[in-house]
């Protein structure tokens, strides 16, 4: 995967000290001689295998390759390893290997990418095997010492017992010997029904430091002699720096250097970031804004609307029968056009990275959702080979997809290259973060539904027009030009499959790519597809004179898992009974990231414009639940993210640039606006789905459908603030 990997550098010995940054990151490798050799952690403790280090005091250090950004998968992955390892959970700690170390060891830790709700589901198999393999090696080491068959020994809570004799030892005592053994070729994993650590809502491993200010985020990195940089990229995407007048800020306090960063940005380096930012604001910069300066939200909307015209070309993502013919000959048809805007991730911690570049080394310290992508960015931006680069990952102050991109890493290295030997911490202002996001893509959707004389839905035409993320970020993943991810939630099959059977179906995408850079924004294409489809399903139900739940159920007979979560929320919210006086309900379901989710909301509306959300019920079938307490938090958090976007979000474009500049113009929900989310977990087993993202899809349509029930008025445009609708 990493094209920069040098094949000549595997299994070389090196030790990386990162003590200056934060405890828990240091992880050295020491492979002095041929096999079998013990690989050691930085503190000298033996590595039983790449995933498990056991210290003499029985502390178990579990290596985690995926990034923790609040979603809890650091704890979940540790639970899975510990479950198979049969170790004492109270003695578990974790550490991140660096991408450089992984590359040097033939990517022993696999994929570092933490997006697409994949953190646990894509690595559960090999991390569990890592735990199981280590357990077998530890047991074998004890058996060897006792000169008994390993089959006579068992392990529990880090204690190995020779059953016939009753002798015991601990993991810490045999780890050194275990580390010298050849790993078993085959391991058997536990049946999840036998789990004792996984599957439980154990406390997170990273909470304590987050309550005392001790947790180190990228923004908190301190290195000796470090300087701070503030940056301004051309506000018009695609524009360039024409000139800047650094003489104007030469005398300002603390300023050390003014540097050009690539073609499009200027950075001021100073003793403190406050000085850097203050000077940057005073620096005259002339931009070459280019043709994109003519683009506005209006011009984008007009271009997308043209794509809704059936005569325009479109990619077909899901098809059944002949929808156009069935619509033409139907007894009744209804049509609606919806739209969804750009959204900024607005992570609480703005983008930042710290880089140290010297003639023979380039190291970066940052929060990233993809350590290997950040590593590749360091190699490219520094021009140095893999063995001279590394990335030290820190806690992320939010990710939501934004920190899967590496633009801020490249910038930090580009600045550091111009000041060799001096560590440079680059921090974006909130305003820069708002101006240079990787935005949730903009789309519109025209839907047409047709009924026979008995009000049965006979055809559905779903025509999406708008931006493709893959076109911009992963063009190699396009299929003959089509973006398969554009159909998330309405796809024919797979991990984001459509949950309804319609005899004549046409789901297509007219791709239109404005100049605003799109990105993977928590929930990604599920967000708008679920709003469009689930709100339109509500419209269809009312057009047919049927209850929205019953209308859906009739179309879901062949989709039992979709139906099961829908039924679960309907039951929990009491759909069959009337809502309290003045309270109205909406319901929605979707599949995304391999999981089935549904949501229902109870709201009241004052004066047609003030919404109070009283209750939210949400159901998820992710196959297996590794930590129910954290899954519950992801479900609740998904509603905060999805409803913030619905009520307050929306990034608009004027003169080629984003208009919103901070939380005063791009607001986020507060505690007074958010009810308790009643989560209903219905894991049916047999598959592994994600939990961080899918639920966002049902947040907005559940509330929008409830709004219709309350007011008789359809809202087909996001955000609500543009229509003077707000929280009560």
């Amino acid at each position: 995967m990493n094209k920069y990997v040098s094949p000549a550098m595997n299994r070389r010995a090196f030790v990386i000290g990162t003590a200056a940054v934060s405890a828990g990151l240091a992880l050295g490798l020491d492979i002095p001689f041929g096999r079998p050799a013990v690989v050691r952690a930085a503190d000298g403790s033996p590595e039983v295998n790449a995933w498990v280090v056991v210290r003499p005091d029985d502390t178990v250090v579990i290596r985690i390759a995926r990034s923790e950004m609040g979603q809890g998968s650091l704890t979940g992955l540790a639970q899975l390893v510990a479950e198979e390892l049969e170790c004492d959970w109270s003695k578990v700690t974790t550490e991140y290997p660096t991408p450089g170390q992984s590359v040097a060891r033939k990517r022993v830790w696999g994929d570092f990418s933490t997006g697409g709700s994949r953190g646990i589901r894509s690595s559960q198999d090999y991390v569990r095997k890592g735990g199981a393999t280590a357990r077998m090696m530890l047991i074998q080491a004890a058996a060897n010492e006792w000169k008994v068959p390993a089959s006579e020994c068992t392990a529990a809570k880090s204690v190995i017992t020779h059953t016939p004799s009753g002798r015991t030892t601990t993991y810490g005592k045999v780890a050194e010997a275990a580390a010298k053994l050849t790993p078993p070729a085959e391991v058997k994993l536990k049946d999840p029904k036998d789990w004792t650590i996984a599957g439980k809502g154990v406390s997170r491993l990273d909470t304590a430091d987050k309550t005392t200010g001790a947790m180190t985020y990228g923004i908190d990195v301190k290195l000796p002699g470090m300087l701070n940089a503030a940056i301004k990229d051309c506000p018009v995407f695609g524009g360039k720096v024409k000139s800047f007048d650094e003489a104007k800020i030469a005398g300002m306090k603390g300023v050390k250097k003014v540097v050009r960063v690539g073609d499009s940005a200027v950075a001021v380096v100073a003793d403190t970031w406050w000085h850097a930012k203050t000077a940057l604001e005073a620096l005259p910069i002339v931009w070459d804004e280019g043709d994109n300066a003519k683009v506005s939200s209006e011009s984008i909307a007009k271009w997308l609307a043209e794509g809704l015209d059936n005569e325009q070309p479109a990619y077909v993502g899901n098809k059944n029968g002949d929808a156009k013919a069935a619509i033409a000959g139907a007894a009744k048809k209804i049509e609606a056009v919806y739209n969804y805007p750009y959204q900024n991730h607005a992570t609480m911690e703005p983008m930042n990275a710290t880089a140290l570049y010297t003639a023979d080394k380039c190291e970066v310290w940052c929060g990233t959702q993809n350590g290997e992508a950040a590593f590749a960015a360091v190699l490219e931006a520094s021009g140095l080979p893999a063995e001279k680069c590394d990335v030290h990952k820190l806690m992320l102050g939010g990710g939501f997809g934004r920190r899967g991109q590496t633009d801020y890493v490249r910038q930090a290295v580009a600045i550091a290259r111009q000041m060799p030997g001096t560590p440079i911490k680059l921090l974006w202002s909130r305003e820069e973060d708002m101006a240079h996001g990787r935005y949730h893509p903009i789309t519109q959707c025209k839907m047409t539904g047709a009924f026979d004389a008995d009000n049965n839905l006979v055809a559905l035409h779903y025509r999406l027009s708008g931006q493709s993320i893959l076109f911009s970020l992963r063009p190699e993943a396009l299929q003959n030009g089509m973006d398969p991810a554009a159909f998330q939630g309405v796809a024919q099959s797979g991990e984001a499959a459509f949950g309804y059977s319609v005899p004549n179906l046409l789901i297509e995408h007219a791709m239109r790519n404005p100049h605003v850079p799109p990105g993977f924004w928590r929930g990604v294409n599920v967000n708008h597809n679920a709003i469009y489809m689930e709100c339109f399903m509500d419209e269809l139900a009312h057009a047919a004179g049927q209850d929205p739940l019953e209308f859906r159920r009739k179309l879901m007979g062949s989709h039992p898992k979709h139906l099961a979560v829908l039924n679960a929320v309907a039951g929990k919210i009491g759909w069959s009974k009337p809502a309290p006086q003045g309270v109205y309900r909406g319901i929605a379901q979707v599949m995304g990231y391999g999981s089935y989710v549904a949501g229902a909301a109870e709201i009241s509306v004052t004066d047609g414009s003030k919404i109070k959300v009283h209750r939210i019920v949400a159901s998820t079938d992710p196959g297996y639940v590794v930590n129910p307490a954290q899954v519950e938090r992801q479900i609740a958090g998904s509603f905060v993210f999805g409803l913030s976007a619905l009520f307050y979000g929306g990034c608009t474009v004027k003169d080629g640039r984003i208009e919103q500049s901070n939380f005063d113009t791009y607001n986020s929900m507060r505690i007074n606006e958010m009810p308790k989310v009643e989560a209903v977990m219905v894991p049916s087993g047999g598959f592994w789905g994600g939990v961080g993202e899918p639920t966002i899809g049902v947040a907005a349509p559940a509330v929008l459908n409830a709004y219709f029930a309350a007011t008789g008025k359809r809202i087909r445009s996001v955000p609500l603030r543009d229509q003077n609708i707000s929280f009560a």
Binding site: D206, G213, N662, F663, S668, N672
Partner: protein, 149 residues
């Protein structure tokens, strides 16, 4: 130059008088638990106590903070004993990414000092910090646990 009293210690920092207290705390004093989120007193990530009252330190100049008792998240605990809000935060596993939580905890500690048994309405009015992860449910539950202890 400014003379500040932070977490009970008197500290002289070499900054211009209009420097936001947030940046003096983070960059000049070196206490990084107080976070930068917006710089315009909207999000609350930088909340500290000034003479016992919650304040958004990005919007306070160091000149305004001189002579006052400033408490940051690092100074909330009493020695090795965590503040009751910190303890409740651990018991309820409140933080997700945790970035906003220093400010959230400081805002809640100030509320509880004023109203030891806040109602939901009191919480809604006093706690206006942004949390993009959406920890509000756990925040509310943790506050009630403290109030009912």
């Amino acid at each position: 130059m400014a003379n500040l009293t932070i977490n009970g210690k008197s500290i002289t920092v070499d900054v211009e008088p209009d420097t936001p207290l947030l940046w003096a705390i983070r960059e000049n004093v070196g206490l990084t638990g107080t976070k930068y989120g917006c710089g315009i007193a909207q999000c609350g990530a930088c909340t500290v106590h000034i003479d016992g009252v919650a304040a958004r330190s990005c919007g306070v100049a160091v000149s305004e903070a001189e002579g006052k008792q400033i408490t940051t998240i690092e100074g909330l605990a009493s020695g090795a004993t965590l503040h009751k809000v910190q303890q409740a935060w651990i018991a309820h596993d409140v933080p997700q990414c945790g970035y906003c939580q220093s400010g959230m905890i400081m805002a809640v500690a100030a509320l509880l000092k004023e109203k030891p048994k806040p109602t939901d309405a009191d919480i809604d009015e006093a706690i206006t910090n942004i949390c993009r992860c959406g920890t509000f449910q756990q925040v509310r539950e943790a506050i009630h646990t403290i109030a009912n202890a």
